[in-house]
Amino acid sequence: MNELKLTEVKKHYGNKSVLDGVTVQLQPNTIYGLLGRNGAGKSTLLNIVTNRIPATAGSVTMNDRDVTNNDEALQQMYLMSEANLYNPRLRVNEIFKETARMYGGFNFGLASRLAHEFGLNVNARNGKLSTGYRSIYKLIVALCVPADYIFLDEPTLGLDANHRDLFYRTLMDTYAERPRTFVIATHLIEEIAHIIERLVIIKTGSVLVDSSVEETLAQSHVILGPQAEVAAYTAGLNVIGEESLGQLKVRYVYGALDDKILPDTVRIDGMDLQKLFIELTNEEGDEHVI
């Protein structure tokens, strides 16, 4: 199976650093969530992985071979991005055909079924489509291409709720049918929270979390109760954020809880992924190193 590895990937524009040494190993047949705030470097990272732009330093390898100008590796990847690399004059069905030629295969059956379900006019020139339908035709290509690593950068941009639902269903369906790795970069965390198996969070060009969703959430706790008790209970724990409401206090803890006895008045809840993301990537949260 193909192993995709990023080692100390750095990207500088002038003296501005966008990526500051990213090391991640992508596992086969796994759905990833790639999360990060605007400008965290998600798109840049995906552009480097797929060799659209060069890294300033570091390497991306597939099966221990550098992917740079390495067709064999590049053919195992497809990046659906907001940036359009197709000539705007190309018609959607021409793009399907050309993609099939280049990748040596394409699921035309699924493509035409999806085009029908989404109501996409395959005879339209891609440059003339609305943002939503531009996302849709790119999504269809991404789901029908025979590659092992599919990168989806903001896949639901401009899609209405119905179309997003259809996309997630289709994703689950095609993934079950032909398992491969998907890396989904999105801001709609709630919508993919149950879909992704592993999680990579990037903050200002560095990897903050690289773990399974289950493990990550098992370590994320909401401690709720009276001010003093919550403060006492969470003392010495990795508190990543807090909120107060009158005498009540909520503290968000990332990491193991110690075996202190929980006071009757204090409750521990789980944290959802979006809340965890917000607390981990808040600017005030800077001092909390994990």
């Binding site: 689950m172 049918e177 969703v213 289950e214 809840d269 789980g270």
Partner: protein
Amino acid sequence: MQFNLDDNSQEPLYLQVARQLEDAIFLKGFDEGEQVPSTTEISKQFHINPATVLKGMNILVSEEIIEKHRGLGMFVTKNARERIKVKRQNEFYSDYIQNMVEEARKLNLSKQQLLDMIERGFEENE
């Protein structure tokens, strides 16, 4: 079928999936011997990673609530409801009684008051 998943629960998603399926079987959403939806179907309908769904299903398989019929899918076992009932009876003490006593203490309810309330609950439910 309806899934009520709670993202603020400390219970991992795959356990929640198992519990929801178990509930559906216990409340006769699926009869004994009937086929339950496949991993893919559940995954598609509720946007849940198939690996998570499978993990949840496997718990029910190990508890002999559902079983795999090779090439056909998953089916509710013969004595599934009885098994669920026994299991839930065993969990009743830790899930409900302990919590109830704890809450009663916070509210300064005496043992007798609590027992009276239970009595009343049974009468009104008749």
